[in-house]
Symmetry: C2
Subunit: 245 residues, 2 copies
């Protein structure tokens, strides 16, 4: 790891837009709300007054250190709920990657439903548990995977969620659209923009993926990608060759 000075933080990271446009349609306690990309929906430490549901678009959820180093803890899109955990304050910052449509609920109304509806708390628990499971996978990725393994895992995860929303079976999509830029991917995987870029290039040169544009990826060899993601520690035979096996 380097010296960590946030030399690559861009202006949009440092001075994000705090404007939150007010929505219109009101359906059973929900307010539909439209926000521009770059909008900070809520910041780490804010009073958790609302719960949000993503209708369309992608958000980045992150925590940051004093000097600007940032760790994206997850991306939220299509149907995902934000601010579910019954904490007094938001535990991370939520910022729009793309223009978005959201449903906003008042925390108080939400809590009432939790206490009244029998199955409600259970459903929320299910959602939070799911987040926890993903968080633990991410810890394994951040703590123990190499750059290629991280990127491979990331691509496969995206491919699976895209396949879930588009198809019925548990297959992976062969074409992924990346709503976020290299900087976001880097902050998600605990890498730098340059390393992410180099790793994409390496995977392309090795024939595992194609990059029609920087923001769209085609998966050419999902098998090898999966091996990398699972951490089989196959480095293309470099070790074997070096040792003369």
């Amino acid at each position: 790891m380097g010296t960590h000075f946030a030399s690559h933080a861009t202006a949009s990271h440092r001075f994000p837009k705090f404007v939150v446009s007010q929505g219109a349609a009101n359906v059973e306690g929900a307010v539909v709300q439209r926000v521009d990309s770059g909008t900070i929906l809520f910041a780490e430490g804010d009073d958790a007054e609302c719960v949000f549901e993503v209708v369309s678009g992608t958000m980045r959820l992150y925590k940051a250190l004093a000097d600007g180093r940032r760790q994206i803890t997850g991306f939220a899109s299509g149907g995902q709920m934000l601010g579910l955990a019954p904490e007094r304050h938001y535990v991370c910052t939520a910022e729009a990657v793309t223009p978005m449509v959201l449903r906003r609920y008042q925390r108080r109304a939400f809590d009432r439903r939790i206490d009244s509806e029998p199955g409600m708390a259970r459903r929320i628990l299910q959602a939070v548990s799911n987040e926890l499971r993903m968080a633990q996978d991410q810890m394994l990725l951040l703590g123990r995977k190499s750059a290629v393994e991280k990127v491979a895992s990331f691509l496969l995860r995206l491919a699976e969620t895209e396949a879930d929303t588009e198809t019925v079976d548990g297959d992976v999509a062969d074409r992924i659209d990346l709503p976020m830029g290299r900087g976001d991917v880097a902050d998600y995987l605990g890498l730098t923009v340059e390393t992410v870029s180099r790793t994409f290039t390496k995977l392309r040169n090795d024939g595992l993926i194609a990059l029609p544009t920087p923001s769209s990826v085609e998966i050419l060899d999902s098998g090898q990608l999966r091996e990398l993601a699972a951490g089989v520690a196959d480095d293309g035979g470099m070790l074997r060759r070096a040792a003369g096996w």
Copy 2:
């Protein structure tokens, strides 16, 4: 990061004891259970048939890659619940670091109480949310902190939890007992044993901590430790000195 081959995995990691001794006392659906250190209480992927509560001792919770690389996602001690999330399978492995006393509940009985008692689901939700918050802190640590920052954060976190259980105020304990070895600390922080050891030594030489024994730490300068943990990127003036400021 290195080549990741688990050359430092010890025999106890590879061939842990799977024996789980059967307990005796039965209090309102709970079975008290005693296990030796090294015992695997449950493994990642096992059917989640029981919920456990730690009475005494410390457990490591971890996920592992195919080649043995291991990421400890957390340590569980005094009063903490394991296997709360309503998943069909355990999402990580739980192994005793020290000899332990546990209370074991049947999952089915637990689910019944969740559905019957109104406040129950909410309390579980609270516990799972707390785990999620800690998981996100850990992601920030793993993805964006340097070795010293990681170790400083780790020590402070331990000191705070020890203070919570011993004192009333929010102060930190000045003396910490580490139930786990350097290997566990390394796998928790995404480092190697050697780096953890070197970092402890560095903190001792800098006068921030004392090490009466390898498994007990005294905090001498919690202020500077906190600065390190918060990521103020103060490297003790190394940069300035090197550049001749």
